[in-house]
Symmetry: C2
Subunit: 322 residues, 2 copies
Amino acid sequence: MNGAALIETRFTRAFGLRAPIASAPMAFAAGGRLAAAVSGAGALGFIGGGYGDAEWLTREWQAAGNARVGCGFITWKLSEAPGLLEQALARRPAGLFLSFGDLVPHAELVKAAGVPLFAQVQSLAMAREAVAAGADVIVAQGSEAGGHGATRGTMALVPEVVDAVGDRAMVLAAGGIADGRGLAAALMLGADGVLMGTRFWAAEEALVAPGFHAAAVAADGDGTARTSLPDQARGYQWPGDFTIRTLRNSWVRRWEGDMEGPVGAAARGAYARAIAEGDAEGAPAIVGEAVGLVERVAPAADIVARVVDEARAALAGGAARC
Amino acid sequence: MNGAALIETRFTRAFGLRAPIASAPMAFAAGGRLAAAVSGAGALGFIGGGYGDAEWLTREWQAAGNARVGCGFITWKLSEAPGLLEQALARRPAGLFLSFGDLVPHAELVKAAGVPLFAQVQSLAMAREAVAAGADVIVAQGSEAGGHGATRGTMALVPEVVDAVGDRAMVLAAGGIADGRGLAAALMLGADGVLMGTRFWAAEEALVAPGFHAAAVAADGDGTARTSLPDQARGYQWPGDFTIRTLRNSWVRRWEGDMEGPVGAAARGAYARAIAEGDAEGAPAIVGEAVGLVERVAPAADIVARVVDEARAALAGGAARC
């Protein structure tokens, strides 16, 4: 056993971590300060490169300082931004994380750089493709997750992915996990660790306006919806298989009930203003069903420590049942 | 510790079980022979009273013999069948299981009979309502589940329900659970046990035609869909919040792609014939995403024993990670 690890798995051994936890590379929200705080606490933090804004990325890499963090991108968007992946790899990230789209055109570059390739998948079929393309870590993401995702649930997806590719890649569970019970459950399902988005989105270090944080803390897990509405409002051309889970706030309810068609150009300005102003009714907080497990905004290091403590207690209690 | 229990929880203590496992009261598929086999193996078997066919129920209660089994009904349908609940309670079931609809009008009768009331819920709000109505066991069912259900995923729903009502009711996790890893994970999430449908649907004792069993064994978890199509084909008036998960076979794909509207009367006869004939392309097998974890049809007792062994191994391994 690794003396430093509080909960040891293949993932902690491979990345020298104290806990088998990674923070999701959430576009706009996961800046360098959050990623550095997560890594500083013994987990693995990721900067959310998202849609590939070079200026934002440069700033957030600086904010991460000397911390050993990874970086993630939206795969289909990366293809529209030549040079971006090379720039990220030049910074020697702890991992390069690709989600949503065909990673085959990019895998070779990541592998050639000697950087571990994380591939987030939403189905068994995608997991097989990602491992065939050389992914080192598969993040099996259930539909419970906040932000973009697809339809399969975490509970059955994770063990099925483990059975299919666990001999060739590590597997992290994502979607619906925000506390130590979820981490312990993921380990029981055969995962090597977890990726948490919503829980770290609600960290003090996340780039999230107070109004959105407050709305999320007040919400329960029944209060989210998976739609394409925010992407319509932002003018993003997401592939049809992927929708985005957010709080079902008054804005979402208004457009869900709208029979006149998609969110039009006139509404986009108001949406952008709501985001800029932290108006949680004018634009929805981007969180998953695990938001019901988030009781307060906390420093990332406290979140990591608490999740580890809870998971250790759950694991010890489970063994005592037999 | 209960000397007889192989994995002990509040649920095994309350019902005198060796394992914290119940079989789902699947309409048509969960007959008396399956329920009795599950109970005989130290878990808790349920007869699937479903839509309330009195003749079917009488036969299946006889098939259960002297085994201590429970019985389940579709709540909104029960309201259309006066006397049915009384008849079931007169048989002194080990539990009366209600799903899908307002259980308040029925709870008092169950409580007055001294029969434990199981309430299957698909959201936090429903869990609170069910406990307020007197439910003894809450089954928190995620969208992964086969058959009818709703939208929330198992992974976050279960711990949130445990936090909200776990001090007043026991909680079973359902949806996406088909092996011991799932049972162990559910215990980590704070559940007192699990309800498994798909895994027992694929038991030798289930009332399922060989053609449907074969289709399920061949399928993986990517191959299901949650739609209203089978209910349209059967002429059932299900409340809009509930859809049914089945394999996405050629019949489902044909109607998903149909732009002419709902499944019409002309298609209903063909659908009924496909069910009668065990034609797994003419009607879809009713299974959940955990179907990808089901490798073979097996006797129910073997399923219980294997799930327990797997869960004990997982729980022991988890504790060793700390």
